[in-house]
């Protein structure tokens, strides 16, 4: 076997896993904050405070953090182009982790003057990541559609950082800007744009790979991307209804084409993580429908909170957790491979009972938060936050389990696989 350094497209395990570890820790922090301030969940609309802080712990600390770790490790496989600047991969983490923690603390404790510098740390991290991503995409040799999604996501990231800084400028210096329009653009660019396009692009090769299936037809994937980009431009510009209509078409085509691929898979068992992925797709579509109802003024009471729940923990977080349940043991198994000890089997790195518990708790948290939003009752909000915190703790235990298993070495014979 060649030494580890020769595996040029495979980063050292510490590089992606530091992002996954931080994401797991930030998820615990976000749900803990929500639990402590669960009485504020129902009244949350906008503005600083613990719920705003928890939201950004999820978006910056969990979603963006894990997306950066995953793309830096997985994109080189798709693009056949290694990430050359390992120092930059580490520096992004060192900027993003304290930046996110400080930003959330400042937001939770109503300190807008601290939010400026902490947001700058996050923006510099994003820009550096943007450079890493663009260099990789520029040299890409394969999977043109994954690469095209990468470019579109990168454009959203730049616009997202700009709108985020402008909003911090308003909080900190009282800039006279159309805050509502800017906030809407920021939300669309962050959730449906940067994270959504990365999720769509990586799904096109990652989900078929996990199921050993053919990827969806290129023409459909290309069409989905164009429609999604048009929807994003409309949504970020405030044209909600046409954006929702196009967004629903993109979601239907994306999910339909992936489901068709999965039906023709070579591997019979999909595994429980695909249940989370399917729930996330349902939440994505539901968030669009609810967004349209809100725009038309016919949404039920509690719709803004339900929209936020469907969009962030429902679509993006659920999708991410479903994917991480599968790729963490897969990546760890590749990293732990040596010619002396062989390659550990993935089930030896997959604590099935813990993941089932995480899945139940996470889905319970979603259901309870939605119930709280529509019923306007504080008790399900408290219970939802508690279930979310327990689920996040289970997920953190899973990440710790995988890291410790690899760090302490798995000697053959490996534990038998559970079918």
């Amino acid at each position: 076997m060649l030494p580890g350094a020769a595996r040029s497209r495979l980063l050292p395990m510490s590089a992606p896993f530091r992002y996954f570890g931080a994401a797991a820790a930030f998820q615990v922090a976000a749900w803990a904050l929500l639990l402590v301030f669960s009485h504020e969940i129902l009244s949350f609309e906008i503005g600083l405070g613990p719920v705003f802080a928890a939201l950004h712990l999820v978006t910056l600390g969990v979603l963006a953090m894990a997306a950066i770790g995953a793309t830096l490790q997985l994109l080189p496989v798709a693009t056949r182009q290694p990430v050359r600047a390992l120092w930059a991969v580490k520096l992004v983490w060192w900027l993003l982790v304290p930046g996110t923690a400080l930003f959330a603390w400042a937001a939770a404790t109503y300190r807008p003057l601290v939010m400026g510098p902490s947001a700058m740390l996050v923006v510099v991290a994003f820009l550096l990541y943007g450079v890493l991503l663009s260099k990789n995409l520029l040299g890409a040799r394969g999977m043109k559609l994954v690469v095209a999604h990468g470019w579109a996501a990168l454009a959203c990231l730049v616009a997202l950082a700009a709108t985020g800084l402008a909003m911090v400028g308003r909080y900190e210096h009282g800039w006279a800007i159309d805050h509502i329009a800017l906030r809407q653009a920021h939300l669309v660019l962050a959730t449906y744009g940067f994270m959504g396009l990365l999720a769509f692009g990586l799904s096109g090769f990652l989900l078929p790979m996990l199921a050993v299936a053919s990827p969806p037809a290129a023409a459909i994937t290309r069409g989905v991307l164009w429609i999604a980009v048009a929807a994003l431009l409309l949504g970020a510009s405030g044209f909600v209804l046409p954006a929702v209509a196009l967004g629903l078409v993109a979601v239907a085509l994306h999910v339909g084409s992936l489901e068709r691929s999965l039906r023709a898979r070579l591997r019979p068992a999909l595994g429980p993580s695909f249940a989370l992925i399917r729930v996330s797709w349902a939440c994505l579509a539901a968030s669009l429908v609810l967004g349209a109802l809100m725009e038309l003024g016919i949404a039920p009471p509690g719709a803004p909170l339900a929209f936020g729940v469907l969009l962030v923990p429902g679509w993006l977080l659920t999708f991410l957790l479903g994917v991480l349940q599968r790729i963490l043991p897969f990546l760890a198994s590749v990293h732990a491979s040596t010619s002396a000890h062989g390659t550990p089997i993935i089930s030896a790195l997959t604590p099935a009972a813990l993941l089932r518990l995480h899945q139940v708790l996470h889905l319970a948290a979603l259901a309870l938060l939605l119930a709280a939003a529509f019923a306007g009752e504080p008790l399900p909000a408290f219970a939802g936050a508690a279930a979310g915190l327990a689920g996040a703790a289970a997920f953190a235990a899973f990440v710790t389990f995988v890291i410790l298993k690899v760090r302490h070495g798995i000697q053959p014979p490996h534990q038998p696989a559970t079918a």
């Binding site: 056949r80 070579l266 062989g342 696989a417």
Partner: protein, 149 residues
Amino acid sequence: MEFNRHISRRLHEEHAATLALWGRVEQTLAAGKPDPALLRQAATMLAEEITRHFEFEEAQLFPRLAAAGEGDISALLLDEHAAIRTAARGYTALVKQDAADPALRPLALELAERLVSHVQKEEMALLPALDELLDEETDHELNAAYAAA
């Protein structure tokens, strides 16, 4: 999956057959209905897999991948070949003794998982890389050599 080279398509077809058979093995064992005839059939197919299929890849394909700067992938796949051969030896010996032996269950499940995971990586990394690396003439030569092996 659609591949442009004959050799990629041929290997892909063999991967599909491997997954189908070992998927059935996995399902019968998970259902608690071990099928000695199926386990023997899997052992026969495994012998073909770890000799003809693996040896061809090791002799003809992995060196080309390494020479094209894909040494990381070929090294990983080689490690997996070694692990599968080790597991296959134990499995085959036990099947020959008694295909109804309950001790076969963990060995068969381990092999099923290793083979699936290995096929995933070859389908994701090896076959697309071959499509890009091989010209038409080399593809025909390799395909003929594999057919004759």
